[in-house]
């Protein structure tokens, strides 16, 4: 579904992605973990070209990423993205946030878009907030609305860029539950997160990144119980010890 081949990315002098190879199968849930600055967010953002890459190739559903223009917009419509800072449209209600892209990109009739949006909001448990503005919601509710907004486009793959990192601890669970149910339904997902519990519970595969490289790829049990690399061991020791 998603494949990266020899991807390199620089921020000026900084080599943030070093020759990344990664393939994600349909319905697979890949959780990307690693220390801050390891390049995992950049990796996630490069898959829908919010970050351009300097070398290599990224394919989504077999198609190479187009350059800027209508073709790229069409590809992005098929790739759902959930951001750390939610990024709900501040001037639109929750319902309008969810219907905006289906109506304007997919040309779904308004009535149908609203009905589908309400079903999605119901599914993420915030149907009662449909008429509210984003600022009137808690962080967890905003992130669930953002997930509904992405799902409304019926994406082939969902990217999560640290979706719980900006949340108060008591709201992390409600967002992870929605993500876990998505994973259980067979959505193809690439999740960048610091939530090791979620990685263990929902991932098919854990990818460990450090200093712009994929250091280790393994099934969650293997990764957490018997990490193969020294860097992964010290990372896990530091995040699991507190």
């Amino acid at each position: 579904m998603v494949s990266l081949r020899g991807v390199d990315k620089y921020f000026g002098e900084l080599h943030v992605l070093k020759h990344i190879d990664l393939t994600v199968q349909a319905s697979e849930v890949v959780v990307v973990v690693g220390p801050s600055g390891s390049g995992k967010s950049t990796l996630c953002r490069s898959i829908n070209r919010l970050e351009s890459i300097d070398a290599g190739e990224i394919r989504v559903d077999g198609e190479p990423l187009p350059v800027e223009g209508p073709a790229l917009a069409a590809l992005r419509a098929d790739v759902g993205m959930v951001f750390q800072s939610f990024n709900l449209f501040a001037h639109r209600t929750v319902l309008e946030n969810v219907t905006l892209a289906p109506i304007n990109v997919r040309r779904v009739p308004k009535v149908d878009a609203r009905r589908e949006a309400m079903e999605l909001l119901d599914r993420v448990g915030i149907a009662d907030k449909a008429g509210h503005l984003p600022a009137q919601l808690s962080g967890g509710q905003q992130q669930r609305a953002a997930i509904a907004r992405a799902l409304a486009m019926r994406p082939k793959v969902m990217l999560f860029d640290e979706p719980t990192s900006a949340l108060d601890p008591e709201m992390v669970g409600e967002v992870l539950d929605v993500m876990a149910s998505l994973a259980a339904e067979g959505m193809t997902m690439i999740v960048v997160t610091h939530e090791m519990g979620f990685a263990r519970r929902a991932a098919d595969r854990v990818v460990f990144m450090d200093q712009g490289q994929i250091v280790e790829e393994a099934a969650p049990d293997q990764f957490f119980d018997a990490p193969g690399s020294e860097r992964a061991r010290s990372f896990l020791a530091s995040v699991l010890s507190h």
């Binding site: 800072s85 449209f89 905006l100 503005l133």
Partner: protein
């Protein structure tokens, strides 16, 4: 007795011209100003450069000079328009530069994540600007645009210098006969203050109404 009241018909007609210029040029400058802003933030370099040049030109050339140029030079170039429409067009292109500066500052207040989210959903850049960025940018700059509109209303008085019989020209004419400059021009000043106050209050109302809860 106030000579302005003795000449109420003339004063009202001239006030009508002033208001017409202010309203038409106001709407026109907001539309043009937003378009200039779009050009200014577009990914096409030629458009950005052109919009930058536009804004710099009109901010750095006096309005009176532009009015004189349009009224006396354009007919020479074979472009004949009645005086009031000419003045309105000059006001539109002039004030649009100030509107564009205000709207651009509004665009800068819109978080980059808003644009990223709309692009990530598959909206084109034009759709992102129209549906996400500009609505938020404009909400943030209602009051600054109100100030530009007040300046525009006051600037309509300069049209008197090129022969448009608006409020200032009319009271000047009345004063030539009545010779009571303090009373006459103060009264005209009060009318301009009323216009400015009305625009300011309207901007305040609009701002409260469209404010984004954050």
């Amino acid at each position: 007795m106030n000579p302005l009241i003795d000449n109420l018909g003339l004063v009202l007609e001239a006030l009508g011209t002033t208001l017409l210029m202010a309203v038409v040029a106001g709407v026109g400058s907001i539309v043009l100003g937003v378009l200039v802003t779009v050009a200014r933030v577009s990914p096409i370099r030629a458009l950005r450069v052109a919009a930058f040049g536009y804004v710099q030109f009109f901010i750095n050339v006096p309005l009176l000079a532009l009015l004189l140029l349009a009224v006396f030079a354009l007919p020479d170039a074979g472009l004949m328009l009645p005086l009031t429409p000419t003045a309105i067009i000059v006001l539109i292109v002039y004030e649009a530069a100030y509107v564009a500066e205000a709207v651009r500052s509004g665009v800068n207040t819109v978080a980059v994540g808003q644009l990223e989210a709309s692009r990530a959903l598959g909206l084109t850049l034009a759709q992102s600007l129209r549906l996400v960025v500009l609505p938020q940018a404009l909400r943030a700059v209602v009051q600054p645009i109100g100030n530009v509109m007040i300046a525009l209303a006051m600037n309509t008085a300069l049209a008197a210098a090129v022969g448009v019989v608006e409020l200032t020209a009319a009271v000047n004419k009345i004063n030539l006969v009545a010779a009571q400059p303090i009373l006459i021009f103060s009264s005209a000043g009060v009318i301009y203050m009323g216009i400015a106050l009305a625009i300011g209050l309207a901007a305040g109302r609009v701002e409260r109404k469209v404010a984004i809860v954050r």
